[in-house]
């Protein structure tokens, strides 16, 4: 447990910092931080699939988008929807699509699995892009943001910030508990050697499908938060560029660690803001993709285990034996990946 302390403190400190952040930041800062936290939730959802279970899903944007579109489509036009009913519903709908996609995709492996998940995401994209259901390329506006009583009015930025923070914390804690549970340990075993798990007596398909559904649901939660924050959804939320970005975020942060998803989301967003800043780059700021691209290349070249591996890389420590208590996170001493 002693090896756990620095990681635990880091996470605790991060959430504490996020909690007090609104007191020192202006409107722009709160807005940006809310957006980053939403992407952190999305990143966590993908981390469960990729880092823990070894399933590289390239269609996460679909579940994200379904959560968002459901939020808008199911909100009444005459008054605010109730958060208590709308949020679970959106999560469930996203999870339902994940059930369908997972049930079919898990019949394939490796790169083929990646592409089938992409295909299903593209199908969802085209449904909202080309049919009247999703309002087409113009997107749809959320007329009134949801609320629950007087204390939870998500129309107010600070309330939204705290609510998002609570969702992020809740997701993190949930996934942390899941990771150390029997279910989480089984997923880690499936990632390392699915054949051995089967030979031992685990029916691996239901486990993978369950992970897929949970992941989809959490992505739907992120979609709900995004739709509420921006008050607007459009088909680009379901594009493969988003799926790709989330994947990039968790690889950048470091696979196999929940905090990797957090770090990746913040690092990616902050890097974008940095390179986009005209104050620093002046005229060149409109070519911010260049700086971002070079940074990504450099980070992979220099940090093979992602940003989360920086402390161990700096201290030159070799990974020691994992005690039974630190399994799902330790299982990725090597960054997990799907082997085609």
């Amino acid at each position: 447990m002693r090896a756990q302390l620095p990681k635990f403190l880091f996470v605790l400190a991060s959430f504490a910092a996020l909690a007090v952040f609104p007191h020192v930041a202006g409107k722009f800062g709160v807005d940006l931080a809310t957006k980053i936290m939403i992407f952190a939730v999305l990143a966590l959802s993908l981390e469960l699939l990729v880092g823990t279970t070894g399933l590289v899903c390239f269609g996460q944007a679909a579940f994200f988008g379904i959560g968002a579109y459901a939020t808008v489509l199911l909100s009444p036009s005459d008054g605010p929807a109730s958060v208590a009913t709308l949020l679970p519903l959106c999560v469930l709908l996203a999870a339902a699509y994940a059930l369908v996609v997972g049930a079919l995709s898990l019949r394939t492996k490796g790169v083929y699995f990646i592409m089938v998940t992409l295909a299903f995401a593209q199908m969802a994209y085209y449904v909202v892009h080309d049919t009247p259901l999703g309002g087409g390329t113009d997107g749809i506006y959320l007329m009134m943001k949801p609320a629950s009583g007087d204390w939870l009015d998500l129309d107010k930025p600070l309330v939204m910030y705290r609510f998002t923070l609570a969702c992020l914390l809740g997701t993190f804690v949930f996934l942390a508990l899941l990771g150390r549970s029997k279910f989480g340990h089984a997923l880690a075993g499936i990632r390392v050697n699915e054949q051995r798990m089967r030979a031992t007596g685990f029916s691996t398909y239901p486990y993978k499908l369950a992970a897929f559904v949970v992941s989809g649901g959490i992505a739907g939660l992120a979609g709900f938060l995004f739709a509420v924050k921006d008050g607007f959804v459009n088909p680009e939320m379901m594009s493969w560029h988003i799926s790709g970005e989330v994947l990039i975020i968790i690889i950048l942060g470091g696979l196999g660690h929940l905090r990797g998803a957090l770090i990746g989301a913040f690092a990616f967003a902050l890097l974008q803001e940095f390179f986009r800043s005209e104050a620093i780059f002046g005229e060149f700021a409109k070519h911010w993709h260049l700086g971002l691209g070079l940074t990504i290349i450099a980070s992979v070249a220099l940090l093979p285990r992602g940003l989360v591996g920086i402390p161990t890389q700096l201290l030159g420590r070799k990974s020691g034996a994992r005690s039974s208590g630190d399994l799902a996170q330790a299982a990725s001493a090597k960054a997990g990946h799907a082997q085609p």
Binding site: V116, A119, M123, I251, H289, G293
Partner: protein
Amino acid sequence: MDLTTFLIQCLNALQYGLLLFLVASGLTLIFGIMGVINLAHGSFYMIGAYMAFALAPFVAATVGGGFFTTLLFGLILAVALGYLLEWAFYSFLYTREHLQQVLMTYGLILVFEELRSLLVGDDVHGVQAPDFLSGSIPLGDMMTYPVYRLFISGVCLLLALCMYFVFAKTRLGMMIRAGSTNREMVQSLGIDIKFLYRVVFAAGVAIAVLAGMVAAPVSSVYPGMGSLVLIICFVVVVIGGIGSIRGALLASLLIGVVDTFGKVLLPQVAGVLVYVLMAGILLWKPDGLFKAG
């Protein structure tokens, strides 16, 4: 649909399919032989298209050449670019895990997009086909078909035949095929695997660039063209089976037909048809239509 329209759509499907095949074959080779997932492959296609646009006046001014000279110039530049890229960047990816390759080549996409933006700008451009290829040939009583599209199909077919010849009949092709199944053995036979990889990579890049150049008059030149072609190419490679050129050809033609006829017969769902096709094929044959070979 009458016969002439059907024929026109068939020709369109053939042209689109063959063009896809050119780009996808480079992707499947690089993935199948070197084990590298290259997300930036679509960027090479985009680079080719922008080269057709940007090089033409330059070539006309300096050498006085026309369309084919521009193509030649572009091809030489592409081979040089491919060679350089492999040496400076991709050769470091062979030992990396696939997800790291994904991340690095994603970074490369961003770099390419911005370099293009800096050098040539972000505008959409049209490229003129050379005069002698700009006509149309009559089809049936009332329809005509653009000669240039036939030219595209012809070029692609020619290149495909060249590739077949190299793979099946030359020593280089044999080494490439051997290198894809057993890297160490090929090395122990004294064949310089590094050189082999460099050649394969440069060829893959050159073919993709050439495809972009040749397609430019028909598809026009715009910033997002790389990502679009990339996704479809991955679909081709996956349907056809990773590393299989034969599979890439079959899959490209299949997609060409489905996409072209889909746009005409079912325009509402045309965009999604290709993905439905892919999902369907993979659920039937989870390893693609052909295994490597």
